[in-house]
Amino acid sequence: MTETTTYDPKTTAVLCVDFYNDFLSEGGKLWPWVKEIAEEVGLLDNLRSIVRTAREAGISVYHVPHHRWEPGDYVKWKYPSPYQLGGAERQIFAKGTWGGTFHDDFQVQPGDIVAREHWASSGFPNTDLDHQLKRYGKEKIIMTGLLANTCLEATARIGMELGYHVTLVRDATSARSHEALHAALDIDGPTYAHEILTTAELVAAIKKARSRD
């Protein structure tokens, strides 16, 4: 890549997709799904580094949470998806439980935006995420979180369709298999994402933009 995007804090947001204990913490229901790749790429350290760098630079942190399971979910739905049925069966991200709470290191801080919960994969449909980004003048979204080929990709793709500049971060996500990660980052990503960076490249780009101020 010749020239990395400039991440002006005024127009940039970091999207934290599903930073739940069920996904990111030892003992979480889906941690076994993502553990292997997460440990390989140093996911938790990278997320911490991106969120910290963003906060220091004045880039807004947007939490993009999946629907928290409650009793009765999907029972009367006409067409729940396989993912929704599987999630309900295991009570993933259950409301009011530790698993449905954000990881300790990524608690909501004053000034952060928490979008409404999304029902399936993408953080945009049926939520206020688009509105929350537009009302603060955000044009560039930096995608972090899980899973690379489901919620993260669906949110990134719809974000592109809605006109946002989209950045994927290779080592700030995980998936259930290397094939799934590869599909998300190396097959699908290059068709729609404006930038695909590593955490180190992203952190450098954010710091560079900051030093120009």
Binding site: K78, Y79, S81, P82, Y83, A120, S121, E139, N149, T150, R157, I158, M160, E161, L162, G163, Y164, H165, V166, S177, E179, A180, H182, A183, I187, D188, P190, T191, Y192, A193, H194
Partner: protein
């Protein structure tokens, strides 16, 4: 997976980008999809499903990609253009008013079939009236490119990613063309039987 029931009044067939540039010999993108398209019999299967849907009285919807307008194209002034849009615009893929930007002859919409507004990038829903058109027609079930041998891609790896990794997360059914056609034929029979029962 059991064969789904395609109720005539609830089901729509969605045909995505049946442009000459994609699925006809001589089209700009045909060399990219040809190998896989021929191996899975993509075009004959698409056509067979279209004909089966029409015969069953299942409404047909077309979701066409944006037709490129060359130098006058709106994307020329866009602040952030996606890689795939840049690629398409540089090659004037699906050019407005050209053969490549015309549906392949067998896929010409018939009167009463719905052509949604052109989509700007990958999704037929984003920024178009497709959702509205489906809902206005009472459609709840979509037969899309989710028919596993009526879609094509540039590389086998992409096909595998789509069919084996991503589709199972969100698709209610993943069928072959033959199973889809069988289910559509069943639709007609069911419908006639129901009508017959109502009006002895």
């Amino acid at each position: 997976m059991s064969t789904p029931v395609f109720e005539k009044d609830l089901t729509g067939l969605l045909v995505v980008d049946p442009y000459n540039d994609f699925i006809s010999e001589g089209g700009i993108l045909w060399p990219l999809v040809k190998e896989i398209a021929e191996a899975v019999h993509c075009v004959p299967n698409m056509l067979a499903i279209l004909l089966a849907a029409r015969a069953a009285g299942v409404r047909v919807f077309f979701a066409p990609h944006h037709r490129d307008r060359g130098r006058e194209d709106e994307v020329e002034g866009w602040k952030y253009i996606a890689p795939i849009q840049k690629f398409g615009h540089e090659r004037r893929i699906f050019g407005a008013g050209t053969w490549g930007g015309t549906f392949r002859e067998e896929f010409t919409p018939l009167p009463g079939e719905v052509v949604a507004q052109e989509h700007w990038c990958s999704s037929g829903f984003a920024n178009t009236d497709l959702d509205l058109q489906l809902k206005k027609h009472g459609i709840h079930k979509l037969i899309v490119t989710l028919v596993k041998d009526a879609i094509a891609s540039y590389r086998w790896e992409e096909m595998q990613a789509t069919l084996e990794l991503n589709l199972p997360n969100y698709a209610t059914s993943i069928l072959s063309a033959a199973d889809t056609i069988a289910a559509l034929e069943h639709t007609t029979v069911d419908f006639d039987a129901r009508n017959h029962a109502r009006a002895p």
